[in-house]
Symmetry: C2
Amino acid sequence: MVVDQLSDAGVDRLFHALADATRRDIVRRTVDGEHSVSGLARHYPISLTAVQKHVAVLEDAGLVVKHRHGREQRVVGNHDALRRAQQLLDELDRLWHGRLDRMGTLLDEDSRGGTT
Amino acid sequence: MVVDQLSDAGVDRLFHALADATRRDIVRRTVDGEHSVSGLARHYPISLTAVQKHVAVLEDAGLVVKHRHGREQRVVGNHDALRRAQQLLDELDRLWHGRLDRMGTLLDEDSRGGTT
DNA sequence: GTAACCTACAACCCCATGGTTGTAGATCAG
DNA sequence: CTGATCTACAACCATGGGGTTGTAGGTTAC
């Protein structure tokens, strides 16, 4: 489970969930503690249903967890998903460093070819 | 000016660009060096036009840079955009740590018979 | 020159997304 | 019980995203 996580379908969901300002804001809020869905909805100029859908997208991506508390549905951020996203970017980042290293090696020894 | 970058529109483009396996693969390839658009297209079972659009999305997000080289359009990854994405995730990550710190403080005060 | 190649762009399809409204089931407060 | 809240879900609409084909303009090779 090391290398090829970049082509996972869950990664699509993860980054797609982050690709919306409202959803990022919900994450920011739920990182800070539990919030009901309707409580969250009061902060945005969109309908409650729209917020419900955003929360569903976040939950599907694993960025958020819901659990019932009486008649409310409490939403709270999930740190693991964020760390997963960070790891994926780090994986790409490592490729860059590898490239830089290879460029240095080329300048140094001038012997090897690339792979395809 | 460091804090509120989470609600920028460019961030939408950045994460949206990363929310597609083909585009992440293009980034992975172009991190490793320059590739022509048609050269990239040969690796995927989709049309050249589709790849052109993916590259355009990546370019719009800043993850990739194009420049002409003869009749070819060379595509190469842009490290800065990736670092920007990493910084945004780190920003969220910091919120989590802040929360954990506060929870620790609460527990601490509670064990001392705090008055909240 | 002609042919082959690389790219750009317009037009079109299909469907997922983000938004809405409306209805209905639980749950809490009185 | 009654009313107010919170949530869920279905139906619908408009827009954009990912894909295609087709046409056209440059650039290299012959």
